[in-house]
Symmetry: C2
Subunit: 891 residues, 2 copies
């Protein structure tokens, strides 16, 4: 028969810490603490299975639960030496929810259950403290009515307030026992008014009402939303913990408090917490009185109030022993709750404490030094995504700030600068430090984005052009600030009642989406110390290589600094947006003959050669993957009359001609258009120029450098093997020609991107010509899901809300769709060429869940934006550890 109820108390427990799935976090930890011999009020846990059955059976409890509860309650009575509902020596209990994962504040709790008009008198008599008894009763009526009977707590708070004002007092504690007794009468009257029946006096009715209410709270709106936000499955259900009450509110030798075994914000190894004398737990949270620090040291931050260390030195000493025992036992920083009843310490909760990224690193590294945990565990304890906080400058938390508006936190980090409204202006005033403000950005703005400290847009989501490019550049960006009204002509923007002119200072926080007026001071990140230690361990453990997506010297240097093992994606098109280059590029594009195109390409060749020379020099000794021109030509087209005139002049043709070419190159769906290797096939001279620039640069760097130059040429948007065959030949021929001319032979690879479903399916053919595959997961997501990254914003939110999508597939790889294609391609590619190198590049390369997928899919490397390289390194280490353990488990 299924066991539905697990008892604990008096140094023994039926449950233990690894039964969290069944008992919930709170229940499992209470049981564990009991078994450790810590002082835990006796109680029992009704399992999550009961909750699951409760919903499956149309909100009916499974048979047998009632009997088990009765038995478990009797066990509490025996230990506590009191009886539930008995008029002489009544037992009071708390009823609390406790799911598998912590869901703070999302579900319901009832304290002091078991009180009624009779037992309250018994409690008064037994404790000799009628004030305490009636204070507990009025708290119970309010909580129970709110949680179980559905009468809003403000009804009772109003009565309390008017009682206080009647009595001319300010604090609850100033009300007398008689005041409280009268208040209880008013509370009961209120209940009767609202429900047309009296407040339940039957303690069994109270108990079951509270248990059901906890189960019901699993499906309340707050809980549903919280689960959605934190990826907690509805199917888990919650457990219910029923526990003998202990009282922190019985007088001045009573107290209640919360503590962390280490500092959750810095990670410092110092006991840290707060307590309140003569209070119940809820009072600490509610902030009615200012809590006091636990330790004398804590007073440095906390102010003048006396610490627990001073007020109750003996109980404090006991607490210190317990927290040390708990940390040693759990081998992690604990977040604990306790109550002191008449100088006796009771433990009510322990769990792993939440902490900042910085704290998580320090605690993990310290605990390895303390031999509490192994390096693998240290790696697993740090959330890679949280590292983002550490890798960018952040706003000084103590500086005063004036919020203008909020947008999406599109690319983390903080930046301040003067407002400019065009890429040109951004470049012109770059020395003054600028924030580029646009309705939305397009590839033509890239030079301005490079020049700016940060980007702010009125339109576009987390995966808009501005967001993606800014993340790639490691620049802060706030996108989709819908409230912004930008007037390019007047050079101002408005948000609410604030108007900001060009040249005014603003500060953006790309980690929070906030936009502030003026220049808010920032704090620079520290990458040494514990961070460096942890990353070193990660590098030893991971099997996936980590490369960076970078094309500028600045990005390449950042990539090396962040530990990238090469460049996995150099998007050559980004090199063409500088003012002097874009004209030559446009000249090339508007040419209708091979000869004219070659003339324009000849102007671009020395520029490209210089780009690659710089990159190869910075990345000497590491591979540099260069993707030949990818985007549709129309992205480079001139738009304004001035631009058209400029190109016409450079190309020696009329403006009318340039305009008509621009029109002819327009595409309905450029993402699926004349781009990638399709350009290489139709205009081979473009790729030839690029290949020549690569090999000429490689030769010249190889002559100077002692480290090897390792170019890897990547052909984009291949859909069949013939395309690659043709273009590989072109690259090989160019390499051979340059080798003859320079006398330097460069070793290089030629590979392709797998970014179309067809390419994934035909991987076996394609691998015959490819020395590596790089999965272009951005495009592969677009084509597999038929979803344009630029256009998805209009419905992706609705999709998430309606549960159609769990996550933005441009942020985390869609494993069921895109993932299957990657696995198919990896398998077929390896079968055709066993030593083929497999990697991914694109936004997903820096997403921990996607990195874990790449490990599972057996890829060789991931490549991501420089600022996400540490995240990827850590995520890769975690994935490797997981793989090792599951391999060991399988064996």
């Amino acid at each position: 028969m299924t066991k539905y109820v697990y008892s604990f108390g008096d140094g023994a427990a039926e449950g233990k810490v690894d039964m969290k799935n069944l008992l919930g976090g709170k229940g499992a930890n209470l049981a564990e603490m009991c078994s450790l011999g810590l002082p835990v009020p006796p109680g029992f846990t009704i399992t999550t299975e009961v909750c699951v059955n409760y919903y499956a059976g149309g909100k009916k409890l499974p048979a047998g639960v009632e009997a088990e509860v009765k038995k478990a309650l009797a066990a509490i009575e025996k230990i506590a030496g009191a009886k539930f509902g008995e008029v002489k020596n009544p037992l009071l209990v708390s009823v609390r929810s406790g799911a598998r994962a912590s869901m703070p504040g999302m579900m319901d709790t009832v304290l002091n259950l078991g009180l009624n008009d009779a037992t309250v008198e018994a409690l008064a008599a037994k404790t000799g403290n009628p004030r305490f008894a009636y204070d507990s009763y009025r708290r119970f009526i309010q909580m129970y009515s709110d949680v179980v009977l559905g009468i809003d707590h403000y009804n009772f708070e109003e009565l309390l307030e008017s009682k206080k004002s009647d009595r001319g007092v300010e604090l609850d504690t100033e009300l007398t026992a008689d005041d409280l007794k009268a208040l209880v009468g008013e509370y009961k009257e209120k209940v009767k008014q609202e429900l047309k029946k009296p407040f339940p006096q039957d303690v069994q009715e109270q108990l079951w009402g509270a248990i059901m209410a906890v189960f019901d709270s699993w499906m309340n709106a707050r809980a549903i939303t919280y689960r959605k936000l934190h990826d907690i499955p509805e199917s888990w259900g919650t457990a219910v913990n029923v526990q003998s009450m202990v009282f922190g509110n019985m007088g001045d030798d009573c107290a209640t408090g919360v503590a962390f075994t280490r500092n959750p914000s810095t990670g410092e190894k110092a006991f840290y917490g707060e307590f309140l004398v003569n209070a119940q737990g809820e009072d600490v949270v509610a902030g009615i009185r200012t809590p006091q620090p636990l330790t004398i040291k804590g007073k440095e931050i906390g102010g003048e109030l006396p610490s627990m260390e001073e007020v109750m030195p003996d109980v404090y000493g006991e607490l210190v022993k317990i927290y040390q025992k708990l940390e040693a036992h759990y081998r992690d920083m604990q977040d604990i709750e306790f109550t002191v009843q008449n100088r006796k310490l009771w433990m009510l909760q322990t769990r792993s404490g939440k902490r900042t990224a910085a704290a998580s690193i320090k605690i993990a590294v310290d605990m390895v030094a303390e031999k509490l945990i192994k390096r693998e565990q240290a790696i697993e304890r740090v959330d890679p995504a949280a590292l983002d906080q550490l890798l960018h400058p952040t706003l000084d938390p103590n500086a005063p700030k004036t919020l203008i508006t909020r947008g999406l936190p599109a690319s983390p980090g903080a930046a301040a600068g003067i407002v400019v409204f065009s890429a040109e202006e951004a470049e012109r005033r770059a020395k003054e430090k600028v924030i580029l403000v646009r309705v939305e950005t397009s590839p033509e703005d890239i030079h301005g984005m490079h020049a700016a400290q940060g980007i702010l847009t009125a339109r576009g989501g987390m995966t808009s052009h501005a967001a993606v490019v800014a993340r790639g550049m490691g620049k802060p960006c706030v996108s989709g600030a819908g409230e912004l009204k930008i007037d390019y002509a007047a050079k101002i923007f408005k948000a609410g009642n604030k108007t900001v002119k060009e040249g005014d200072f603003v500060t953006i926080n790309g980690g929070s989406g906030e936009v502030f007026l003026g220049e808010v001071p920032t704090v620079q990140p520290q990458l040494s110390g514990d961070f460096a230690t942890l990353m070193g361990w990660a590098d030893e453990m991971r099997t996936l290589k980590v490369r960076a997506n970078a094309e500028t010297p600045l990005d390449a240097k950042a990539a090396r600094r962040f530990g990238a093992e090469g460049i996995g994606l150099c998007r050559t098109e980004h090199m063409f947006f500088d003012t002097d280059r874009i004209i030559a590029m446009r000249e090339m594009i508007v040419s209708e003959t091979v000869e004219k195109r070659k003339e324009a390409l000849a102007k671009l060749l020395p520029m490209q050669r210089k780009d690659f020379t710089e990159l190869f020099t910075i990345m000497a000794g590491l591979p540099v993957t260069i993707r030949l021109l990818d985007p549709p030509l129309h992205e480079f087209l001139p738009h304004s009359d001035a631009e058209i005139k400029e190109v016409a002049k450079a190309a020696g043709v009329t403006s009318e001609y340039v305009r008509s070419r621009a029109h002819a190159l327009h595409e309905s769906n450029p993402m699926l258009g004349h781009r990638g290797c399709r350009l290489g096939i139709t205009y081979p001279e473009i790729y030839e120029m690029q290949a020549r620039a690569v090999f000429e640069a490689a030769s010249s760097v190889a002559k100077e450098s002692k480290d090897k130059v390792i170019p890897e040429i990547m052909i984009p948007l291949v859909m069949n093997s013939k395309e690659l065959e043709i273009l590989k030949r072109l690259v090989d021929d160019t390499a051979a020609a340059v080798a003859r001319e320079t006398g330097v032979k460069i070793e290089y690879l030629v590979g392709t991107m797998i970014e179309l479903p067809r390419a994934a399916l035909r991987a076996a053919d394609i691998a015959r010509h490819a020395e590596f595959f790089s999965f272009g997961t951005n495009d592969l997501t677009q084509t597999t899901l038929g979803l344009s990254r630029d256009d998805a914003a209009s419905f992706i939110e609705a999709y998430k809300q309606k549960g159609v999508l769990d996550a933005d597939p441009f942020v985390t790889i869609d494993q069921d769709g895109v993932g299957e294609l990657i696995q198919i391609a990896a398998e077929r590619g390896r079968k055709a060429r066993s030593d083929i190198k497999l990697g991914i590049c694109g936004e997903h390369g820096g997403d921990p869940a996607s990195v874990a997928f790449c490990q599972k899919a057996g890829l060789n490397y991931v490549s991501c934006s420089p600022y996400r390289v540490p995240i990827a390194r850590l995520a890769a280490a975690q994935a490797a550890i997981k793989a090792k353990f599951s391999k060991a488990a399988a064996a």
Copy 2:
């Protein structure tokens, strides 16, 4: 040891007809005729394997060929009673190519080989006809020099012409033996001049030179192009036939001719052909003299010249017996070549004759009646694609025509009408019959396309919007007529030196791409008689159902007439382009609130209900698959100021507001944007209105009709099962609501399109909510290949030329990519729901190769444009027969 040479002659042969792969078509048929006891000059065939080895070995013949040829030549000598190169009784031979598939005129032939200065005299002496001998010798020198030595034939033709003018004669036959002898001298001199060495006198050198020349001709430019156009693999190679010469040019009791055993243009069962007295085969082809008819009956067409039946009645009689024997043996209409040498008939070739679509049907049906072939064979004999010729009106071949320009044959059929330049004008003047002329068309032009007789565009390929929509409508279309310069303002177009004004008559031939001035009379198609008989047999044999893509009553009626078994795709968006509807549609789109949208939808509901009522009435008893709104909303947006004003007025908002909404709805890649079920999820009221219209219409028709109404609701662009789950519930709820209101319960299906790679991969999940899958192969091709149908034109031609693509993937399903996804989806879908109905809709449904694929993939039906339904029916029958045979073969 491999056998490289196969001999034939004197009533026996080493080869036979089913050895075409090895012996080529000509060689296999010569061997077969020999074995049938027909008079065939003795000879031998060098196999295609030799050709393959020749190229594989760097143009070297495999060892052993020479010895086999020597032996085979000796066999000819024995039968012919003459010796190759012997001065007394010389054997002359022809050397001809002969590939597996017929490649008329693409490769080289040498006749009269074996002549030199000595053997020509012997030939003169033996035949007593020096004129004949020297005529043969001069023909040989010219042919051999042209084919083997690379001296262009015009060099010799010039000498011949000047000889004739010297002698004052007009015809070759008027030259004397001495004239010809002198000419031979001049020819040899010419060769010596060009090559700096004399014409080869060694007959062995001549023979091997000619054999190698035939092999070399396999890779000449003409042959390569022909193979590409006809999908003939290069790897097949060609065979070489060496055969004893017979002479049709030895005097007036000699002749040469070609014949078809039935009329290749009508299929009539009547012997049909031409011959020339005293000539060699080449003379018939060259058209130097007017050929004479074979039969007396043939004179009705051929003119006054005497027929062979009259001139050589005995030989004619023998020929008739032979052709009847051949037809009975091959059980197909034969195309034969013969030569008469001194009243003796020799057969030089037989093969299945090429024929028109009409003839192919008549012959196939007649031969079944004659018990020559079975119905299966009749079905297999007709090329489904050729039916296209028969299903559309065609231009009267006898009418005079003035060509204006040429474009692509985008949608077959002929149409005449006055030129209009806008969809509005087309609608206004529809009664006058109009041809809509546009630079290119877009969805806003659809009402004009409906109103027009035909469409002519200056831009866009075979798969452009104009082409696809026109084919869907069964309307003639010429697209991409690049020479057209359209001036919308002046309402004229120019092509070359011709100018056509609005209101002028033009005629387009969508089958050839031609555009003519004025109104050329047309001939209507006949769908009864043999056509109906054949289609009846096809219907009995096929297992794939055939449905039509149709939304208008006109199309639906056409679909039924052409034998469609239901509608497989009713694109509801096409119903919204009528002038009165588009305003309501636009009003709906620009609404920002659900309430406003519902108001506009309420105006559309009765119109949609009427559409479906008409469709259900026409298709009563057959299923009608209705696809809910699919395209991105921006396709409906107003563009011109007038349109914007109109919508603003209808919606009661400002023009400025409409303009800003239109701007907001703009998408970068609409094909991957906010469309399909994404609209249904975000604006459920749209799909709800459509579902309501369907069920209300179905109820009202069901009340009237004795036949069942069978709606199948199809949700487009699904990428995961959740989308379908949500929308199926919406459809089911609406159906239930209508059933309650009307009291009529309609049986219906809900299914989805599989048109995204992710949907194909997730077919198992999706099938849990789908009663059918319809593969939307247009979109599936776009996403799988990352290829926009609208934008591919700029490089797809280059891709075909460079061998990157074999066929346009929008015309024939890309089996290796898209096909694999279809197979994956079919398999996973069936596994999850064994009775799921699978079909395809889209352009591919009417392409025979794609239909064959659908049979192989195990689909239940194909759906195509009404005018392609008969093509699909026939293709489906062929696919079923093939499947039956390969199943039988496997068993």
